[in-house]
Each structure stands twice: as C-alpha cells, then as structure tokens.
C-alpha cells in the first residue's frame, strides 16, 4: 500500500518540470480561441456571484447579514474555492482519457496528467483569489496575518483534489458514465456545503463528513479573519486523514489500471 503511494510521489517529483510546462501549455491552448482570453477566468465567476447574491442574498435572505457579516462578502469568501473545486473535480476526471492520445510512449508517467490539469486550474484559482482579496478589502475585510492561511489551504486543497483525481481519472477512463455522475454530484454538493446558507449545529455535524466543507469554511475564515481554522483543528486532522486514505487508494487504483488506459480509448 505504501509502495504505490511512494511510487506516485517519486514520479511526480521527478517530473516537476514537465508538469509545470504542460500546465502552461494547457492554459495557453484553452485560451487561444477567445479575444478576451484570460479575462474570462474572472468575468464568468463574477457574473455567477452576482446571480447568487441576487437570488440568495436579496430573494431568500432579504439582505440580512450572517453573524454580523454582510451576505455578499460572506458569499465571496466561501464560493471562491468552490469554483476551483468544482472545475478541478470534473476536469481532472476527464484528464486521462482526453489527453492520453498526446502521450506517445508507454513509459510516459501518466500520473502527471491529472497533476498538470490540476495545476493549470490552480493558476486560475490563485488569480481569482488575488481579485477576491481586493474585493474583500473593498467590503471592509483587509488582508492581514490571517491571509497567510491561504498557503496552507491551497496546499490542502491541492492534496485532496489530486488524490481524488487519481481515483476518478482512472475510473472515468474505464467507465465514461462516471463523468456525468460526478457533474451532477458536484452540483448537489454545492448546496450541501455552507456556501449559500448556514446549517444548524446538528446538521453541520453531518455535513462535515464531506471534507469539502472544511475547505469552504477554511477559506471563509481566512478571508474574513475569523479563528475558525484554529479552533477546529480536530476537524483539520479528520480532513488530512481523508486525504491520506484517498491518496493511498488512488495510487493503488492508478497503478493497477494504468497499463490498460491506452486500450480504453
């Protein structure tokens, strides 16, 4: 079990340069057709936030603040990481079967494919977080020491998403239907994480089984400068336990099936 995890880690380590270059090309190839190119990475999420603010903030909550925080900054602080999570889970699941045609050698380390697809999306995420810092400052939540939590949170998100990607990319290559299932699941999970609403303490206990809950609340606490992350350290331990289990399982599945990936295209 540890052997396969170690194999994946050493593969990633020796292909770091490859991953960074391929991520650059991935971004370039995605944006090459549009006039506004990279600008869409900001416009689309901002439009979405506008709609959610209107529907949930005015429509459902009729403008009431949450724990003394106005709804809009509260929403932005939580939803920014969700944009990353949702796109990462669906794109990395697709990554292996859509990119393997580019791979011209069996000896190519296939575990780098989900890694570079994830990294390309992470670049976008960092840019969006940068914009969000400005927005939050405009709302009256300036940056401070608490913003440093971003480094930890970004690392935590990458670790979880990559571990998941190892599993989903292998299984989706074999059974394409999983792609559709994942998409619907992500849409559902969006409402089962506290992005738009605050669950009661009892309900929160159940919803916290989902590790994405930790990321959303963690980012929110980082943007708003609360001490949620520090006081919920036990939940943090649970999160990392999940990450390790997923990574071990993912490495095993990946190594078990990768020889056959090319046969399923």
């Amino acid at each position: 079990m540890f052997k396969s995890a170690k194999a994946i880690l050493s593969e990633l380590k020796s292909s770091l340069y490859l991953i960074f270059r391929l991520a650059t090309y991935e971004t370039r190839s995605n944006n090459s057709m549009q006039y506004l190119g990279f600008l869409w990475e900001f416009v689309t999420p901002l439009l979405q936030i506008g709609v959610y603010w209107f529907v949930f903030g005015f429509g459902i909550r009729s403008g009431r603040p949450i724990d003394g925080v106005p709804f809009l900054p509260w929403l932005v602080a939580g939803i920014v990481v969700w944009f990353f999570i949702a796109s990462a889970i669906t794109s990395t699941a697709r990554s292996v079967y859509s990119k393997i045609g580019m791979v011209s050698k069996m000896s190519f380390p296939i575990s780098t494919i989900p890694a570079y697809v994830l990294l390309a999306l992470f670049y976008r995420h960092v840019a969006l977080v940068g914009v969000s810092f400005i927005l939050m400052w405009a709302f009256g939540f300036p940056m401070g020491l608490h913003s440093l939590w971003f480094i930890y949170l970004a690392f935590s998100a990458l670790a979880l998403l990559y571990s998941l990607a190892l599993i989903t990319s292998a299984l989706t290559t074999i059974v394409r239907d999983l792609q559709n299932l994942l998409q619907s699941m992500m849409r559902m999970l969006m409402y089962l994480t506290p992005i738009f609403w605050v669950p009661s303490a009892k309900l929160a206990n159940i919803l916290q089984i989902n590790p994405l809950y930790y990321l959303v609340e963690g980012y929110r606490s980082m943007f708003l400068g609360t001490d949620w992350l520090a006081t919920n350290w036990a939940y943090g331990l649970y999160y990392w336990a999940i990450v390790f289990v997923l990574f071990f399982v993912g490495s095993m599945i990946h190594l078990r099936f990768r020889r056959h990936f090319i046969d399923y295209i």
């Binding site: 270059r21 069996m106 000896s107 074999i174 090319i262 046969d263």
Partner: protein, 295 residues
C-alpha cells in the same frame, strides 16, 4: 546481436457485445465477448543497421505492429525487447492543433521525455528540416496535411532515435521532401540504426529496405531478404486475385477462425527498453554480416 526482438508476441482485442462485458473483464478478468488477435505469436529478431519493410494486405496487423514497436502500447502476451529509443512517424502524429508549431516541438519533446536543454538544442534543426517558414509560429490547425506531416517527421527524426518506425508517412510529402527523408533515413542506416518501414508501396519497400516482413492476418508469413519476401508476396497477390469470390471468402473465413482462436498463454506481455547498443556491439555486427556474406 539484435536491436529488436519479438518473442511470441500477441496483441488481443476483445470484441465486446455490450459495454457491460468490458466491466466484467476488468473486475473478474474473465474475457467475455469474442477474442480477436491483431497479432498472433509473432517472433522475429532484427540485427542493427537493417531496414525492415513490413508488408501485408489491409487488416494484417501492420498498424498494431508499428504501435508495439514504438512502445505506444504493451503486448497482451509475449516479450518485446528494444535496444534504445524508438520514434514513430505516422500521418496523424499527435500534434496539438491549438498550439503553434514551435510550441508543439517543445510539447512533443517533453512527451518523449527530453530535458529542457535537449529540446532547446534540437529546435533549430527541426525547424530547418520541416521547412514551413513563418507557419512555425502559427497554430498547427492552420497547416496543410503536408505541412503537418513534415513537422511531425522533422520532430521524430531529429530526436535521434535508435529505432525509427515509419508508418505510411512518406506518401503525403512531395518528391523533394520525400528525397530529403530518404537521404536522412539512409544516413540513419549508415550509422547502424534500425528502421521499420510500413508501406503499401511494394516498389518503395524493395528499393529502400534490406529485410522484408510479410504479415498475413496477424501472423508472420515470411521474414528474410527483401527481394525474396517481395517476390513471394507478389506471387501471393496474383494468386489471391485469381481466386473466385467464393474462394476468397472461404480463405478469409479460414484465416479469421485462426485469428479468433485463443492463444494458450496466461502471462501478460511486456515491452523492455534496454540500453542502446554500444559502438563495439555495432562493430561485431558488421563483421558477422561480412562472414555470413562470404559463406
């Protein structure tokens, strides 16, 4: 001494009746559906410095052979040994249409496992060989098919492979480019590298190759000096054409039955990439050939 060795190599595809049969095979490793052998018990050895022409009618397994040689996929059963790097040149050479020619050179280099410096060093030679002018900075999707294959060819041949596999790629270029390629391949040949040449053009094979490998419905029908193999192949073509429609069909059905008979092997096949042959080993090859010529 050999550069390439195939030992009882088979490549099997399963013709599934339903999608769910596929899942059954993965999880219970029991093969459902019909088995079809693209290649069946193929065994041969190629000494360095030879040019092997692979011939055979449509559906005889030539493309599967080129994929196995280029290490694109593993064999189902059997053992493949390759000394050194292989490069595959095919018409669809896996270029990314959204990226420019220059970007594709780097991307392809990375995919082939080259380092940053190696790619930088090779780029001028590739651009020169491809000879597509300012198009090198344009997206590949704007290229004509000839330009695409020229770029693909230029990349593959300049990564300095020890084994070169050419799959019908020469048919798209004009005469000057074909000549350039042939010159480059002759240079390869002289340096003791091994080339596999897959083509429907029997005359091109005879002109350029030293050995012939004739595949017939997934099996090696004949392997030896190119003239002999081509002669036999032409004889076969003539004989086959003269058969009546029914005789042709029954001949094919007969072969198909062989092709769907399950090979008695359980171990999974593997491709081994061995270190390139040393100068010394290449030298011994020359002397042994000389001796065998005298004999």
């Amino acid at each position: 001494m050999y550069q390439v060795k195939f030992e009882n190599v088979s490549k099997r595809y399963t013709l599934y009746n339903k999608q769910s049969d596929k899942l059954k095979e993965i999880f219970f490793s029991k093969a459902g559906g019909k088995q079809f052998y693209a290649l069946r018990n193929v065994t041969f050895e190629v000494p360095p410095g030879e040019v092997v022409g692979i011939i055979g009618i449509n559906g005889s397994g030539k493309s599967t052979m080129s994929n196995l040689l280029a290490d694109v996929m593993p064999p189902t059963h059997g053992k493949i040994e390759l000394h050194g790097k292989t490069a595959l040149i095919a018409i669809s050479s896996g270029l990314n249409g959204n990226l420019t020619g220059l970007e594709n050179i780097e991307l392809k280099g990375l995919m082939l496992g080259m380092t940053k410096q190696e790619i930088i060093d090779l780029t001028p030679a590739i651009i020169e060989f491809a000879d597509i002018g300012d198009f090198i900075n344009q997206p590949v999707k704007t290229y004509s098919s000839g330009m695409k294959s020229r770029l693909g060819f230029a990349i593959s041949i300049n990564v300095d492979p020890d084994i070169l596999v050419i799959d019908e790629a020469l048919s798209v270029g004009d005469q000057t480019f074909t000549d350039k390629c042939l010159a480059k391949m002759n240079e390869f040949k002289d340096r003791g590298k091994t080339i596999f040449f897959i083509s429907h053009s029997v005359s091109q094979v005879r002109q350029f190759c030293t050995l012939g490998l004739w595949l017939e419905f997934g099996e090696v029908r004949e392997y030896g000096p190119v003239d002999e193999v081509v002669r036999e192949y032409n004889k076969f073509l003539k004989w086959f054409r003269n058969l009546s429609k029914e005789q042709q069909d029954s001949f094919k059905a007969d072969k198909l039955k062989r092709r769907t008979t399950v090979v008695d092997a359980t171990e999974l096949g593997e491709t081994y990439i061995l270190p390139p042959l040393t100068e010394e080993q290449l030298q011994t090859r020359h002397s042994s050939v000389a001796v065998s010529n005298e004999a």
